[in-house]
Point group: C2
Chain length 393, copies 2
């Protein structure tokens, strides 16, 4: 087991009806004036937001609702939230929704606790983040894992950059997880979530360190659980067992546990972020689109690792590592396709791109030569371009 | 996934030399006056205590060392620690050692934060525990998992009772885990630790709920990791890989993760506690002594569960559940024996007991008829007696 630090202080309430305890949790973590961050739309149609509001009222908590969090959450919207939080003197930010609402809430919490700093400076590393405000979560989609993760991703519409911030102050104070709340999602969103959950573990599993036994064993158990229950959820999203396993997998996959001691890769995430910010496609769909191409580009960096994925997760019996590795990549891509997820640009619906656009995308991913991505295979402009070319069909 | 709540706010610093950050962690969690709780002995011989003291001095922290924590930690000693903590106006309790030092530190923290309550009242449920004091840990043995667990066990010498208290206020604020610190342990203690780690997961795995997919998958991955690295550690306790995997397994096995959504059993622990408090034997040894007898007594409550253990953890190919179940029990008991651990009373070194003593032990386990134990199979006096008879050879 290689060295690591690990800190996940988020209290989790998991199960049917858990959202009834929202006000109690807010009080427990010192909240009395709450900014409720949500996308609006589905949480209003389902009646969830009204139930949460009723609970806050009954508990005598002051609150305001801040709507409009969207997939690939926008910096400008988070900045607006900071203003609202400061105006109402909020002391706790409550996200009701999925990754977009949660990441927006994290941005607002950092901004409201540091009113003299523009929050984008935290995301760019121009200002150190040393304090924040408690964030609570009522989760409505199993995907991003932001409800317990140390990360938050924002997109700056001014320059098109989508950036993640990793910091323990991004860990929410509490997360309320009721699997029944995810049963009203469109099937496509459920499938996007399954891919996102798998990728949070795959992007840690593929890294240069292969001897963290417990970490790898947990990662493989999680992948098997997601694959099996992703199939069940695709067939019937009211299958409580499947939806609940996916929900818990979503948190564990991104809270750090499946990568402890490793040197996470996350190159597919970076390749996908460029697609999301350029074409505004769903995060999970961007990941399934690039993963196969990433895998083929990086296969030679470690066939044995792909082979292990094949044997431990996909149950392959191939003895030859390279053959098992190739079969593992096929099995993973086939599974994405089985879920109805795109595995190349045309399936993603963005069309086949010309070479100039691919070059531009590769340049953007490297911040125009300022960085490489990945650790399993370190990718510069050429490797990134090679991956985009493979996905461009 | 069945309902659960989960809260593990302990910050973990894992790796070689991690103890160098002890004073920094103490400051981070608000400590300025520290009672250092330790067994003495080995941590003095190894120079660890001197290094920790030096670090506290350099950081300008006031501290006192409170020695004498022993295996199966004593209530009277913890009470004495409360007096010492109050005298020095301690604001953080630092355990340097294993489960005994940590559980003693937890008792002291609860007592020092509630000076008007006798701490045994918390363990008996006569007084609710609503506040405590931060506890930090520098871990020196992989076994009890108390460094991140919500439990603490004390033995009341006045009446011979050994009782556990489960409460989230038992979670330490931080845990410093340097696997190299465990390399000076006697081989027998390493083996006791391996059994203890396995049992924290086995006592959760065997419960009436068999459909928590991720929980069970993590439990099985952990058991495979412990078994494999327990063998390596027995062969060479300076094997960093093995000792580090065991150390991380020790925490994960008892922090709750391997039982989420389940209804933990812990009957073998209760059977073992009676042996520990009666004969003052090592905790791990008491568990390996009773587990096989417990398993045979409870086999018919769920052969399929034992069969799954056999297939997923021991790699058995038996298709018939009952045959696989019996083979799984044999494999587990054989593994304990391979580690040099006792699997019956005579191997434990307490001799074969007469029937009257066995009856007395069964009565003590049930608090003289006031409780049953276990959940996989609920055990009353008769079932407990049956298990003790099987182990009594």
């Amino acid at each position: 087991m290689r060295d690591f630090t690990y800190y996940v202080p988020t209290e989790i309430l998991f199960g049917r009806g858990a959202e009834a305890d929202t006000a109690k949790e807010i009080r427990k973590f010192g909240g009395s004036r709450v900014l409720v961050v949500t996308g609006g739309g589905s949480v209003e149609r389902s009646g969830l937001l009204a139930r949460i509001e009723q609970g806050l009222k009954e508990a005598g908590l002051a609150y305001e609702v801040f709507r409009g969090a969207k997939p690939n959450p926008r910096l400008s919207h988070a900045r607006e939230g900071v203003r609202r939080a400061l105006e109402m003197r909020a002391d706790l930010i409550l996200a009701v929704g999925g990754g977009s609402a949660i990441d927006t809430a994290k941005g607002i919490a950092h901004g409201a606790a540091n009113p003299d700093t523009d929050i984008w400076d935290f995301w760019c590393g121009n200002a150190p983040l040393t304090r924040s405000m408690p964030v609570g979560v009522v989760l409505t989609i199993s995907a991003a894992g932001s409800e317990t993760s140390n990360s938050a991703v924002l997109t700056n519409e001014e320059n098109g950059q989508k950036r993640g911030l990793g910091h323990d102050l991004n860990r929410p104070a509490f997360a309320i997880m009721d699997p029944e709340l995810t049963m009203t999602l469109p099937a496509y969103q459920v499938a996007c979530g399954v891919v996102d959950i798998m990728m949070h573990t795959l992007d840690r599993y593929f890294n240069p360190v292969w001897d963290n036994d417990l970490t790898d064993g947990i990662a493989e158990a999680l992948l098997r659980t997601v694959i099996q229950n992703g199939r069940r959820a695709a067939a019937d999203k009211t299958d409580y067992h499947a939806m609940s396993e996916l929900m818990w997998c979503g948190s564990v996959s991104h809270n750090g546990l499946t990568g402890l001691g490793g040197k996470q890769d996350f190159a597919p995430h970076q390749l996908g972020h460029e697609l999301s910010s350029r074409f505004d496609v769903a995060h999970g769909a961007s990941l399934s689109t690039v993963w196969g191409a990433w895998a083929e580009t990086c296969l030679q960096a470690g066939p044995a690792r792909f082979a292990r994925l094949g044997r431990e997760v996909w149950g392959l019996r191939e003895e030859d590592d390279l053959a098992a590795a190739r079969a593992a990549i096929r099995a993973t891509v086939d599974y994405f396709r089985e879920l109805g997820m795109p595995t190349c640009f045309s399936e993603l619906g963005v069309g086949v791109q010309d070479e100039a656009t691919l070059c531009e995308m590769a340049d953007c991913v490297t911040y125009h030569g300022a960085r490489t991505i990945g650790s399993f295979r370190v990718m510069g402009r050429e490797e990134i371009l090679a991956a985009y070319r493979l996905a461009n069909r």
